[in-house]
Subunit: 575 residues, 2 copies
Amino acid sequence: MADKIFRVNMTTLTTSVEEVPAAWAGHGGRGLTSTIVAEEVEPTCHPLGKRNKLVIAPGLLSGTVAANSGRLSIGAKSPLTGTIKESNAGGTSAQFLAKAGCKAIIIEGQPTEDKWYSLAVTPAGITITEETKLVGKGNFDVIKSVNAKFESKVGVLSIGQAGEMKMAAANISVQDPDGGLRSSGRGGLGAVMGSKKIKFISIDPQDGTVEIAQPEEFKAANRAFAKALVGHPVSQALGAYGTNVLVNIINESGGLPTKNFTQGQFAGHESISGETMADIITQRGGKVKHNCHPGCVIQCSQVYNDAKGNKLTSGIEYESIWAMGADCCVDNLDQIAEADQIMDDIGIDSIETSVAMGVAMEAGVLEFGDGAGILRILREEIAKGTGLGRIIGNGTGSVGRSFGITRVPVVKNQAIPAYDPRSIKGMGITYATSTQGADHTMGYTIATNILNVGGQLDPLSKEGQVELSRNLQIATAAIDSTGMCLFIAFAALDDETCLPALIDLINARFGIALTGDDVVNLGQYILKTERKFNIAAGFTEADDRLPEFFYDEPLPPHNVVCDFTGEEIDTFWNF
Amino acid sequence: MADKIFRVNMTTLTTSVEEVPAAWAGHGGRGLTSTIVAEEVEPTCHPLGKRNKLVIAPGLLSGTVAANSGRLSIGAKSPLTGTIKESNAGGTSAQFLAKAGCKAIIIEGQPTEDKWYSLAVTPAGITITEETKLVGKGNFDVIKSVNAKFESKVGVLSIGQAGEMKMAAANISVQDPDGGLRSSGRGGLGAVMGSKKIKFISIDPQDGTVEIAQPEEFKAANRAFAKALVGHPVSQALGAYGTNVLVNIINESGGLPTKNFTQGQFAGHESISGETMADIITQRGGKVKHNCHPGCVIQCSQVYNDAKGNKLTSGIEYESIWAMGADCCVDNLDQIAEADQIMDDIGIDSIETSVAMGVAMEAGVLEFGDGAGILRILREEIAKGTGLGRIIGNGTGSVGRSFGITRVPVVKNQAIPAYDPRSIKGMGITYATSTQGADHTMGYTIATNILNVGGQLDPLSKEGQVELSRNLQIATAAIDSTGMCLFIAFAALDDETCLPALIDLINARFGIALTGDDVVNLGQYILKTERKFNIAAGFTEADDRLPEFFYDEPLPPHNVVCDFTGEEIDTFWNF
């Protein structure tokens, strides 16, 4: 069965199943969401209005047994940044969508009545049902209720209260294999889903499967690919400590943004490190290793229990731990895990929200270190949509504007994540030039700046950083199209068998003959397509800049400032 | 005594008196503030940071006896719009500054300590004093306290709580001749003053006077000029009913935005009209006519008493009455007058704040028509800086973003004032193209679209509106440089003796020989200087657009939508 486009019009409450246009056929994941958004969405439209579209696409390899191929891309014009946006997450939905024969879901329009709906995806298409019972509920209630309707496993995408309230930091939650949540976190896509009055989407592939054009070649390529992944030391560290292995590493580098980006090291780093977390998890009978989607061989997720041995949260990432930990000076992992669980339930991005809390602390709303205060604000203000809750729930830039704060770590209004651009200069280029606002996943120069993957490049020197970020952003855009987890990049950068095996997987899946050059061209095409959208939306080089306080305030311990000129940053686009 | 530049550095807490650079010598008012901001402020700087500058300049004729020459221009990069900004107001400060020999005050830098200051201006320059007593106080307390320090009359500029809290709708208040307030309202300049930690500025001209190069010619020109002003019917209507004469006129035209811009006529218009207001004022012993600055021959201000005959507010404008009245559906003039007084005291723009209330009503924060609710929010939320207070105090766009509302009447994040751009199409061009966000005073096409001043142009047809707005915006920029009130424009458009008399006034004041062409060139230079700043700040043609709901929703009673294409709007800049 050839893949189809499943289209939903929320104004007319009608759906259709369409052939895939030839120009979209070679695309998947981010390449497809960005192509469709660029083609069908007016760049200047209001992101929460009827002209925006929400596009959901599995990757080119999703639904196959290829290792680590379970990432789902969701795209739209972002209400947080105003740019084009693709946010991807693990969970089971990418694989189920692909098995249902769905190349992409395009959700357009907006209900004219004040009613909520759910979408049910099967291989036959999509049905729309009015939803009343789950409106106002958190994601965990939604998932539980939706799963109870089905006999077999289904994928679930849902929004919590933050998405219903159209907060610009609202995410879209993606159910994982064990009823936990992964998040399409950045850019407020949950608000776009909320603006279309869709509370959840179920994905039941029934007996659908993905066809493999050359099964034997596919199996062989997958063996080589998985071997390369498993063998890389970073994969192994991620399995042992999760992404939180980075707390000690980034702290040691002096690039761990602390106390709303005033310091590069956090005195309490040991208390929140991956090593400490693994010890706590083990002591309390949680899971140190856990996969966010079937087929993952890295398993950087985990299950974190409370002191009584009950599950507190799962899939808690370095960036979330850093944001509430170092950036807000909270050195208590149990409070961070509890906040993580609440944010999953409300459906709000843990990076954006926690960095916003750091700015709110600078504004005097809370004291730095007040973890209990953060928990209170999450429960009593954000979940309930009070004035303060909306200020914080609309993100870091919103807090800065609301309180007249100038030290606001955002690019294109999106919070800068867990790597200070002054002392890890490659990340500064990625934050500034990314088509999607500050986002570490767009060009993760930590690999080469800090982890010595793909070579070595002094993080404190400007030399070579633009080229590094450019190459990684191009490669990342291509990887984000495959459905592959970005963490395959470590093996791809160091192990010469990895990338050819990935290309072999794609070729065997479709019976085609892509080359390495094709992959680079794909990445470049995606970045240029995204940038073209942004330019038409009104973005200029003036938006490709870091906030001025990074130029003014030297960051301890290295006492370095951002020193890229605008002209240097703009050379990024010389390709 | 030749005029000087008075410069204040709030980082070093030092001041200086400087010669006027040759390139600035021919400028005054808006022409001077925009020239200085464009020359000295980095366009991409944070508007509340140390790189922004607040520039205060009397007009070319301020301090003379020329009729209506008492307007003061204040400029900076706006925290509300991110554009260059000039906001002008009446009051006594322009005349006193000019008499003190001050061509402009430039306030730069930012204190490093968390202390507040005041500035005292005399002909000798400026002194900086730490201020503690008045911090946290409203404008009326400030003015009372400052006046008590001086034996003779002084000018006072001050900020209220909104400016201290750096709210993006905060204004700078300018004392009028009777201890009332006029406001440099638009664009959040009060937040810039607050970011520099200046609570108030006193201006004591001592025995300073303005020299007139050709006194006899000046007197003759002033006679002719004043005669033209007084003789125009619009001047007379403004004297009789204030600017609020417009409620009935604009309602009749179908262009009175009502219930957050859903209708073009307000059922309660009679209750809030200028005619009703004049009756109430007369009954209660207030003043129907009042001048906001000495020498005004139009006298569109008034003193509005409460039912007991005590002064409730003064200088209440059509735009303020419209915004809380029609746009929020409040048909109670006493509530509107009370809100006006509170907004003056807090120091917050009555247009921006009231339009923000209308959007908050659409979001369900209040019911439409709930005037008591507005009063409560002003007193209990905005003045105290609660979460909701900060959302509203940061303006209309802030409310829209915070509550996920798409019907948000702003251009460049500044609230659209009291003339619906769908049924008065010339105003649509002014709002879209103004260098300063939506602002009726930038190119007041109401003159020709509605009042039949300067000809007649059908407000419902696109024909000729771009040219009309262009000509008016050029003329306005020039008028804003003279210190003249914009209301001289009615006479200037209809009476052929008026503009020559104004040019004669300038020539006699300085002993020069300007022509009508020079005035047009000046206006064009100002607009182009301002636009160049905005482009460098990152603005593009995509920002010169009206919100999409004006294109989608026909406005009763004419049931018309905005129908300008982007290309048509952009022809504005063809000069």
